[in-house]
């Protein structure tokens, strides 16, 4: 099963794509993804119900969040009410250690994204402040990366022994499906996604027909 684990809809302040349009694009282009995750910036979208779109397009649509920490941006999968109560998602300076700890405590999973990016990538901060205990996986393939950023992410992930996931970081319709994660098992829910990521049976992939520039 292939899931694109990092995308933004119009619910994010800089997102230009409606979720329905992502679905249409995937089907019209015949993209090789079985679903995608919406990780809106600095918030968790608890309101939107995408089940009708899942049924119409035969895609899995899951919700996550992209929060901002003192070590860069972090995807949080499996967000629930406990985690929402524990963290102020709107802050731009959340301590990464807190995000990792509270995610674990609440049954979620925190994954630093675009870690090879200046300022908002994990490894830029590692260079100055050293590694953070508790990081287990990072987004090694990000569809919005500039030249060299994914390469740096891959090298450093290997150095620190982190597993890697892939996501497009799409903000416009045509960017979905650039990068994704291939799982050995079938995933049906956000909880299932967290379990699969913890189990480690997956690989980050750059989709050949829509690979990032």
């Amino acid at each position: 099963m292939i899931l694109d684990l990092h995308n933004h809809s119009v619910r994010s302040d800089d997102g230009k794509a409606r979720v329905e349009n992502y679905c249409q694009w995937i089907r019209r282009r015949g993209l090789a993804v079985d679903g995608f995750v919406l990780s809106e910036h600095r918030q968790f979208d608890a309101e939107s119900d995408y089940r009708p779109l899942e049924d119409e397009f035969g895609l899995l649509i899951l919700k996550a969040s992209e929060v901002e920490t003192d070590y860069g941006h972090v995807l949080v999968f499996g967000v629930n009410e406990d985690l929402q109560a524990a963290l102020d998602f709107a802050r731009v300076d959340l301590p990464l250690a807190d995000v990792l700890r509270e995610s674990e405590r609440c049954g979620a999973l925190a994954v630093p994204c675009h870690p090879g990016r200046p300022n908002v990538g994990l490894f830029a901060h590692y260079a100055a402040r050293g590694p953070v205990p508790g990081v287990r996986l990072v987004e090694t393939l990000n569809g919005g990366s500039r030249s060299g950023e994914n390469e740096l992410a891959g090298r450093e992930a290997e150095r620190y022994g982190y597993a890697g996931i892939g996501g497009s970081d799409a903000h416009i319709v045509s960017h979905i499906g650039r990068c994704a994660t291939r799982f050995e098992e079938t995933i049906r829910s956000a909880e299932g996604l967290v379990a699969a990521l913890r189990a480690g049976r997956y690989e980050a992939i750059a989709c050949p027909s829509t690979s990032p520039s």
């Binding site: 302040d13 910036h41 600095r42 901002e68 990016r117 200046p118 300022n119």
Partner: protein
């Protein structure tokens, strides 16, 4: 010293700091429509029975001030830049309308990116017509990059 975005938001959002009236003429409606590439007769022909403003027309109007008096400048290096506009249309704007625009800071939020910390300031202009009906909301999104610590 780092910018406290939550404090900024609490101090500066939610009060009116400017109010201006704009009488609307047929000529400016048609001229604006043509300037943005419209050709539909109900936007460019004042003789059309449903002649009205294009949806983004209210962005033509500016208030007397961009910020409330004494609003802090977050950077010594630059005054910031335009981060785009968002328009909500609520009622048709037609010739002869007199629009009253009320300005307030609607929201302030921070985000981080490749270039560092950014603070977004949303200046909202609320346009109502002479009948008191809400005609449009225009959010001017302005971006400032605070000076590094």
């Amino acid at each position: 010293m780092p910018v406290d975005v939550a404090e900024l938001k609490q101090s500066w959002t939610g009060f009116e700091f400017d109010r201006v009236e704009f009488p609307v003429t047929a000529e400016e409606l048609a001229e604006f429509a043509r300037a943005v590439g419209e050709s539909a007769p109900w936007f460019v022909d004042p003789a059309h029975p449903d002649f009205r403003a294009v949806p983004n027309f209210a962005t033509k109007y500016h208030g007397r001030r961009m910020w409330p008096p004494d609003f802090p400048r977050l950077s010594k290096r630059s005054v910031g830049f335009d981060g785009g506009k968002r328009v909500e249309v609520h009622a048709p704007i037609r010739p002869g309308d007199v629009l009253t625009a009320r300005s307030q800071i609607h929201d302030i939020y921070g985000k981080t990116g490749r270039s560092g910390m950014m603070v977004f300031i949303i200046h909202r202009m609320e346009f109502s017509n002479q009948r008191g009906e809400l005609a449009a909301l225009v959010d001017w999104r302005f971006l400032q990059q605070p000076d590094p610590d």
